[in-house]
């Protein structure tokens, strides 16, 4: 009854309910005793519209019994279950309690399955059809909203199948990403780099990294500006999974390819978060999802 702003309403409901049931019972008691006058032709003597007469046809008594049953049921229900205002009922039933019990029951039912899978390694899980079927459903329920049904992501949401890892692709790193979430921060660096011309030059240089085989020559004045970026992205632009700095050399552009997008990111920075799942998923579920995600880049077939 916490939905109500005033304690008046539970009382209003309870009193109205009790009065209504009482009124119904009283009506039944009254009609059970009431006699009506029947004439010789088995009519009540009431005439409407000149010739419409009312035939005397009493109801069977079991019908009255049904009415009594509804009242008995209502009283029994209101004693056992919540319904009478704020009274919780002697049965102490609540929808929250029932939901909790059903969730516990479902967990207990699933426990043997997870118990079988618990000792398996990531590689073994990835090869287990039942484990992957469960993980596939978990993925569609919890991950596909951002990463897509096929786990290949879209702009802003990383592709999980391409062997390019922001935070590392080891099972342990994947597990950490799912459990605790990740928060990737690229600061706005326009001021640090200098003029807008400098930003453009650095963007062009970043673009060139993907096609470069040799490490950048940081003695070059233009390339020297890249030292600001190298703090996170590494001296050769290869990225740093410790801080989630992307590899700039693999032609994979999470927030859009092309010079304009890169300039925009340098100027404005970027904050991109993966929410922590530890409150929604159990460690056993996360273990399955880890193997599922790990499998994309560690098996012959990359199809989900």
């Amino acid at each position: 009854m916490s939905d109500f702003t005033s304690p008046l309403w539970p009382w209003f409901i309870a009193i109205t309910t009790v009065l209504s049931i009482g009124a119904c019972a009283g009506l039944l008691w009254w009609v059970a005793r009431k006699k009506i006058h029947a004439l010789n032709d088995n009519t009540t003597g009431h005439i409407w519209d000149e010739d419409l007469v009312e035939l005397n046809h009493p109801m069977p008594r079991w019908w009255m019994g049904l009415f009594v049953v509804t009242i008995v049921f209502a009283v029994g229900y209101l004693v056992l279950f919540p319904g009478l205002g704020a009274f919780a009922g002697l049965g102490r039933w609540s929808s929250v309690q029932q939901h909790t019990e059903e969730v516990q029951q479902a967990k207990a039912d699933a426990a043997p399955v997870y118990a079988r899978l618990a000792p398996l390694t990531h590689a073994q899980l990835a090869a287990d059809p039942e484990a992957m079927a469960i993980a596939g459903r978990l993925f569609l329920n919890h991950c596909a909203q951002c990463h897509g049904s096929d786990a290949r992501g879209s702009r802003g949401f990383p592709d999980l199948t391409d062997r390019d890892w922001l935070w590392g692709g080891d099972p342990e790193q994947i597990r950490h990403s799912i459990t605790e979430g990740r928060n990737g921060v690229m600061p706005a660096l326009a001021g640090a780099l200098g003029s807008s011309q400098d930003v453009l030059r650095v963007a062009d240089f970043v673009l060139s990294l993907s096609s470069r085989t040799a490490p950048p020559d940081l003695s070059d004045p233009v390339q020297a500006k890249f030292a600001v970026c190298a703090a996170c992205h590494g001296a050769n632009g290869g990225g740093n999974p410790q801080v989630g700095a992307p590899n700039l050399r693999d032609d994979i552009w999470l927030h859009g390819s092309g010079r304009d997008n890169i300039v925009s990111i340098i100027n404005k920075g970027k904050n991109n978060a993966m929410p922590a799942q530890k409150d929604r998923l159990t460690p056993a579920q996360i273990q399955l999802l880890t193997a599922y995600v790990w499998r994309f880049s560690n098996s012959a077939t990359r199809k989900p």
């Binding site: 006699k35 009493p58 069977p60 019908w63 049904s149």
Partner: protein
Amino acid sequence: MKRQPESQALTPGLQPMFFAEATIHPRTVKGRFANLRWLVVGATQAVFYGLPWINWGERPAIWFDLGARRFFLFDWVLYPHDFIFLATLLILCALGLFWVTAAAGRIWCGYACPQTVYTEIFMWIERVTCGTREQRLKLERSPWSLAKVRCIGSKHLLWLTVALWTGLTFVAYFIPFPKLLHELLHFTLSPSEAFWVLFYSAATYGNAGFMREQVCKYMCPYARFQSAMFDPHTWIVTYDSRRGEPRGSRRRGAEVKPGQGDCIDCTLCVQVCPTGIDIRKGLQYECIGCAACIDMCDQVMDKVGSPRGLIRYSTQAATQAPARADTSWLRQLARPRIVIYVSLWLVLAVAWVWALSTRPSIRLDVVRDRSVLARWVPGGAIENVYRLHAMNASSKDQRLRLSVEGLPGLKLVDAPILQLPAAQAVWVVVHVHVAESAATPLKPGSHAIRFTGEWLDKHGLPATLTEPTTFLRPR
């Protein structure tokens, strides 16, 4: 003792608004129509009790698997999506009831309605355990004795057995019988299974054992709206009052006196009536058209030497003005009302059978991926992602070959063959590309495309289905 509610209510003066109707003990009747009814009882119950025992491969032939949301009817596997077939079947039943009622009155009630059928079975048990109508009435009046307890006890024991078996059979349409019986014998029925077994058993026991004609008189809506479907040409149980009145007793073999009708007022037609009415008062809403009074009256007429048919299936038009009414079958059925009902019914029935028999054995739903609208892939092609829900609506494993069409350069990237295990539905994620050369001229926005599935049906013939969807090109 045939107690009539009317006679009680007819007493003038102050009367209660509710009263207990006395139990009706109908006299057992033999004859053509009683035999017909037993034939229908046998046929319907052979189907009802027998079907759950028939297996179809590894599973019951008829199995409404609510947990898996699959409905197995012999070779067919119906999904919840096929609800239209059940809805249409129910409409067909209703329409069928309409035209049968308009043509021949309440023969459904009198012969095939479960209320009648189980009442008939329960009355047979009553007769076996407690004897004929006279013996039962005597037993009812007699004080409690060992013999009375034995009769009534064995009656209820048999009733309960039949009722319990009926409840089990009902639930067996949802839980296969071997599993159900195993659970019953090991006391491991789930609460819902136990509830439905007991509920259906209690309904059978109560309705066929105790409520009987009260169900027809006070609960059944059909009894109340039959008047909307009757007309003077409807074939109903009628008493030929022109021939029968004025009624009066006469000795066996005695000539009918001038001015006297054929009805000897023996009241046997009232004694056999399961709803306790007097058919000689004309059409009444309580009459379920069971023809017990016809069988009875024919026997009486045979005994007194008068022609049969004082009570017979006839129409009001024919009995009220026999000279003018054309009573031929054809004339009786060739009424606009019947013709319209039957035409509607036939159209619907043919459509239903056609739709069910040509129903594809595979269903396909195409769902666009909810997060990825479209993406460019290295090389310049555009990619869209779809989730396909492919449902095998047959009892055999099937292979579905997928293709996409509707745009130049459109192609399915993934393996086109889907393996669909029998009666299973699978979700697969597929990628569709528009090749680089065709991607550039494609207008940004949504384009209609379609998925096509091809497979071999149960006769080995190629079958196809198409499912429309959209392909998006990013700006």
